[in-house]
Assembly symmetry: C2
Homo-oligomer: 459 residues x 2
């Protein structure tokens, strides 16, 4: 079976061949038949001079606007640097204002102002309006292009309006406003089609409209849209004036981005850019997150130092350090991931803290017992007896490691559950705290528990 990935591969190699042979008219043909989102995916496979050829062709062909919205940052910057301001401005005029805003926000302030001056008319106003809102809010991701009509408009007149619109990408809803631009209701395109032509919108509209504010975080916008199965959500300001809408295609991007962000935060990679090739940027983003783990490691050096005498007398103790730490770290990661993800999707609520905590503690205890018994048995086979200062211990050492694993897994599950819950309560993103914090504190607790148990039973 040919998958869509295979088809992509075939197309990409064809395109590369055509560009190499400078077969521009064939290339035009392929470009004309391909979706912008697919064309944008060719660029990472091209050399700089090949990129330029394709960009020129897309500009001539009037297809660059669509492709621009879908390009990755690297290729987009390549194009922005290569192109004249006049060409860019033309392209920006053919793009939705929210996509233009997104690109401009990424440029240095100077360059943004320069381009904004060149982009004239409605697009410029729209973009400037968007740029005033904070990144990752409804105001920032909304589009100011929507269809809003007054309550007295008839269904027929509304249909006529839709016919005349050209620059609105996706119309699903007609918003109904009063003379002060205040949002009064909403009608789906389907309702509009299915009604008598002379009905005024006010008799058709649903007055219970789900809406968001420009300052609403994009994550919450995504929640509203997905929870109520909407295709778009209106953005209203404090005086209930309709200022934009967020459409579902942008919400899907938000969900993907938020998930990526969460995963990277949980792995403690900082604000890393997955596609970036810069080693310096990569190193700089990841360095501080490793610091937590480094400091934890130094604390471990001191903790183990306290028990240097015991280690000197029984070197076998050292051999079990990695497994005690490792099992704790793993179950801690399990618990914290379950909690972080549950909090993010709303499946776990802070009100359920005790319920979740109880489940995780009980699970930690059960798993701890299972692996404790296994490790104890292993230790008994590996070291049938240990000798400390002339005394022989037949059973104490296996019991020490068994207890250490069991107690440590229990503690790890507890910490793994509580840290994200605590951060959530403090209104810090739980994902941020999970990775380095949990593993490091579990390492230190684990070592302390292990050596304390050993101290009590063997020395």
């Amino acid at each position: 079976m040919i998958t869509s990935r295979d088809r992509d591969d075939i197309l990409i190699s064809t395109v590369i061949r055509l560009i190499k042979r400078r077969a521009i008219s064939n290339l035009k043909n392929v470009v004309g038949k391909t979706h912008s989102a697919d064309i944008a995916r060719w660029f990472p496979y091209l050399r700089p001079n090949e990129k330029s050829i394709l960009f020129n062709l897309l500009v001539e062909h009037g297809q660059m606007g669509g492709v621009m919205s879908e390009l990755n940052r690297e290729d987009r910057n390549f194009f922005l640097q290569e192109s004249d301001a006049a060409v860019l401005v033309d392209i920006f005029h053919s793009m939705p204002a929210d996509d233009v805003g997104d690109i401009l926000a990424d440029l240095p302030e100077e360059k943004t102002q320069q381009l904004l001056k060149l982009i004239k008319g409605k697009t410029s106003e729209d973009v400037e309006q968007l740029l005033q809102f904070q990144e990752k809010t409804a105001g920032y991701i909304m589009t100011p292009n929507f269809l809003a009509l007054t309550e007295e408009t008839t269904a027929a007149a509304a249909t006529e309006q839709i016919r005349e619109l050209a620059d609105i990408e996706m119309v699903f809803y007609v918003y109904v406003i009063d003379h002060e631009n205040q949002l009064k209701g909403v009608i789906s395109l389907r309702q509009l089609v299915a009604t008598k032509p002379d009905t005024p919108l006010k008799d058709l509209m649903t007055t219970r409209v789900f809406s968001v504010h420009p300052g609403t975080p994009q994550e919450e916008v995504a929640h509203v849209v997905s929870r109520y199965n909407l295709l778009a959500v209106p953005v209203i300001d404090d005086s209930i004036k309709l200022i934009g809408i967020v459409t579902i295609d942008d919400v899907i991007d938000v969900i993907r981005d938020e998930n990526t962000e969460d995963m990277l935060k949980m792995a403690g990679t900082g604000d890393v850019n997955i596609t970036s090739k810069s080693i310096l940027k990569n190193t700089r983003a990841r360095l501080p997150w490793l610091l937590a783990s480094f400091v934890g490691g130094l604390i471990a050096v001191y903790v183990i130092g306290i028990f240097e005498v015991q280690l000197d007398r029984l070197a076998a103790l050292a051999a079990f350090i990695p497994i005690v730490i490792g099992m704790g770290g793993n179950i801690g990661t399990q618990s914290s991931t379950i909690v972080v993800r549950g909090l993010a999707t709303g499946e776990i609520d802070l009100k359920e803290t005790w319920k979740v905590l109880w489940r995780e503690i009980a699970t930690g205890a059960s798993l701890g017992c299972v692996y404790g018994i296994l490790l104890g048995t292993f230790a008994k086979f590996r070291f049938s007896k240990v000798e400390i200062g002339g005394l022989e211990f037949a059973w104490e050492f296996p019991i020490v490691v068994a207890l250490a694993i069991c107690v440590n897994m229990l503690i790890a599950a507890t910490i793994g559950t509580l840290i994200p819950m605590f951060f959530k309560r403090m209104q810090v993103d739980p994902a941020i705290a999970t990775g380095p914090f949990v593993t490091t504190s579990i390492d230190v607790f684990g070592i302390l528990t292990y050596f304390t148990i050993a101290q009590l039973m063997l020395f």
Copy 2:
């Protein structure tokens, strides 16, 4: 500012109070004004007898169908167990076939067959058709309710058809088919509205339709919908017959579920249910994943055993085991998470293996140098000199730990990059391999590297 979460909280406490006071008519009022998705979220806060009261009210009110689709598994099972088959069948008739299929697939085979017999007519056929497809495929998540018309239909006739449809939830597209049900093209509702009434559909339709097969994995369906900004994608069988559509609201659920699955796999939690309260199920799901880490830990016991003599002579060696392992584990997790997420979103392609590997190796080397120097300096302050068999070493020990961190972080970044890439190439889900595999192999490699360097420089 009142967030939507605050509003939820206020509403929930009101509802609980009304149920406690048995204020059924007030409760009816609140229920009538609330979206099904919100009502579904009240149940986790109710006691069993309160749940029953609310369920009864929803059934009487004819609102149970909408709420059912949104309930979590636990509350849904509570309701399914409590209700008569006749009541259930009524509710199923009011629900979209894909939601009914989803619920039935979750029940024991017997119960499913029993209910299917009771559900008659079109719903039953539709559901049976869906149930024949594998979970997590397009066939399984599609809805068989869509609007398909022949090429000769005029725009006016199509509009008339839309007017008459009642049971299709979301109409965005009209699909155009020939007399053999083969998919020929598609028209958006907006295009239909914006055209002359007597135009036949074949003159309006786009013939380049993005479609999927019933066996297409749901993840790929989500890719197609989000890549091409579609609101729905048609599902066609091998003879190009249109058999269903997957709508964007279901795609959003797919994206969320796939992301949850990926995160849980990466944390090595197995097929755990975030909301489940069963400790036994939780333990059973997580046990096997911890085994990888357990076996890795046992190998570590042996590896350290090889160097028992060295440990006996220099106990300080043991103190640095956790930090060497920890830093390696952390940078390995960073690399593997970046790669797994990049592969999942398509930002990283297998063709770029060498490019990504080079970046990760270089980043690992840089970070390794930074932390190596830091740890060496720390070791020099902590142990200004070490004594082995009567000989004093002033600089060798700090150099050993510095080198160990540096080499280990480099190896860890490499392993963390290569393992998910390798699994992807072998067509195994990379997320599954990342957690326990990477950490365990890094632990073992890290210890081996550390002691080998120590052996070479100190003994």
